[in-house]
Amino acid sequence: MSGAVATLRRLQQQPWIWSFIGAVAVWLATIGFTGGQGAGEIVTAALSFACFTVIVGTGQMLVITTGPGNVDLSNPATITLCGTVAMKVMDEQDSMLLIGIVAALGAGALVGALNYGLIRFLRIPPIIATLSMSFLVQSTAIAYNRGLRIKPPPLLDAFTTGDSFGIPWLAVLTVLFSAAVAIMVGRSYYGRAISAIGQNSRAAWLANVPVERFRFYTYLASALLSAVCGILLSGFSGGPALDMGAEYLLGSIAVVVIGGTSVAGGRASVPGIWGAAMFMFLLTTMLNTFGASAGIRLIMTGLIIVAIIAAAGGDEQR
């Protein structure tokens, strides 16, 4: 009981609450403009689209939490590759669903392991390692995909697009997933260890934390979550596309940072990812509703991200 109270208190100290306030404000502005029309539909759509950002963002959050300089730029390519692998193996048949998922997760695990291998054994900075790897992965995806758009099997299609009372099934599962990750980050040895590594990796190493093993798990988890996103996104959008991962390069980093995770590492915030992902989607919806052109949407998205980062400021611990 006291543990639950402590957890609640610890959560209250997190700055993630702002991302939810932002999301609600943007939603109110949108339905204010439409006179209340489509208020529910907008929330349903936001919940659906936020799921994908949340899944990739969670992996990115774990990586960023392990310390300064750690970031995974291979997410977009991994999403594309794994989405393509899954759909090709499934070949529109429900019977191949599981095998397709296993194949896509295998491809994701391989990317994660290679990312970590470059960082650890060739001592390449994570930004360059994951970037170089993303070139290779993207090429593999292009060569493998051949520009075809393969439909998802009916079961996957139904699952990813299904909802009850306006709440997408995917959102329910993703919320449960987020809750599990939040507990893991806050209470498990792994979660506490990656925060310790992010705050001071040498101190963590001296305290007998298996630093390298946990960094490996973290890059692996990030790539696997990109794979999951790739599979679900392919189901949701009617098949994989070569640019399907592109928006998650900025998206995954932005939701982590807007959500209150420290960019200097050492402090993760899981609920903030949800608030930030909803905020980002609702922001685009609002600008669309206001009739903003593509250029204005780009400028506003960029400026708001920069403004939020600037307002939050750097890490006060350092």
Partner: protein, 311 residues
């Protein structure tokens, strides 16, 4: 001692060796390229890439990373193509404003202690948005003098080679062999020491980001001088090229360790690698992947050289 010297020398000449091997391979595969015309054609687009790479180098020297340089160069080509031929004053004013904005981003990153990758990623949307608004469809035109300059025919030596050598030497002298250059690099290598010596870190950050903006504008000028027209998305690939070029050229992410000559060599390597892949009939699908592989290969080699020094 000689072994250590040799290793340091080997490490420093790695960018040149990489480029030399690449050139030999290209000449062997396609002897036609070993001519005045062939070299001009092959290397002309290395000039804007080299300038963008130097822009990235200034940012990396102060321990930051610019993920917006590609969209920024695209925006400058749009401004140049739209305003410079007919309204040169307006065009110049806008370009100066762009450079000032870059210095402002440097100030923001320093004052709020925010990560450069997030700020510049956000700014890449802003640059792209402005470019799309002012130039929705490809258009505009290069000023006549600029087009003439970029297509200059100097007898004997192809113009891109002259341009690359001049750019590399000027930046090398200014950044590596001037006293303020040492301060600028020092603010990336040991910021505390530089601050204690009485230099403003805010100012060095703004100068380095301003220089990045300036070289971004130069990259845009040389690019539109070659293409003759502007496009809001023309240089988006330069972000990745420029980071890869700096690293290929021997630069490191932390500690102010960069090399202008290396960066120019790295940029030329990347620009001509595409030709070799084409001559080897590598499918276009694998071109980006091959560049990733080259990058990893060079870094692996460098790690091997450094590690052999530890024993």
């Amino acid at each position: 001692v000689t072994a250590v010297l040799n290793r340091a020398l080997l490490r420093r000449s790695l960018p040149a060796i990489t480029l030399a091997i690449l050139m030999v391979a290209i000449f062997a595969k396609q002897p036609m390229t070993m001519s005045y015309f062939g070299l001009t054609l092959m290397l002309q687009y290395a000039v804007p890439i080299a300038l963008a790479t130097l822009a990235q180098m200034f940012v990396i020297a102060v321990n930051d990373l610019d993920l917006s340089i590609g969209t920024f160069v695209s925006l400058t080509t749009a401004i140049i193509g739209l305003y410079l031929p007919d309204a040169p004053l307006m065009g110049c004013a806008l370009l100066v404003l762009c450079i000032a904005a870059y210095a402002g981003i440097g100030a923001l990153i320093h004052l709020r202690r925010v990560p450069s990758i997030v700020v510049t990623l956000g700014m890449s949307f802003v640059w792209s948005g402005i470019a799309v608004i002012i130039l929705p469809t490809p258009g505009g035109k290069a000023p006549v003098w600029l087009h003439g300059l970029m297509n200059l025919k100097v007898p004997g030596i192809p113009f891109p080679i002259i341009a690359a050598v001049v750019i590399a030497i000027v930046v090398q002298l200014a950044l590596m062999h001037s006293s303020y250059g040492v301060v600028l690099r020092g603010s990336g290598g040991n910021p505390k020491a530089v601050a204690r010596a009485g230099w403003s870190l805010l100012k060095t950050k703004m100068v380095m980001f301003g220089l990045a903006g300036f070289f971004g504008v130069l990259s845009g000028l040389s690019l539109i001088g070659l293409t003759g027209a502007a496009d809001a998305h023309i240089a988006e690939r330069y972000t990745l090229y420029s980071i890869a070029g700096v690293i290929l050229g021997g630069g490191e992410f932390v500690g102010g360790r960069v090399s202008p000559i290396g960066a120019v060599l790295g940029a030329i390597t990347l620009a001509s690698a595409a030709f070799l892949l084409g001559f080897l009939q590598v499918r276009p699908d694998w071109q980006i992947g091959a560049q990733g592989a080259i990058l990893i290969g060079v870094l692996a080699l460098r790690a091997a050289i450094s590690r052999s020094g530890l024993r």
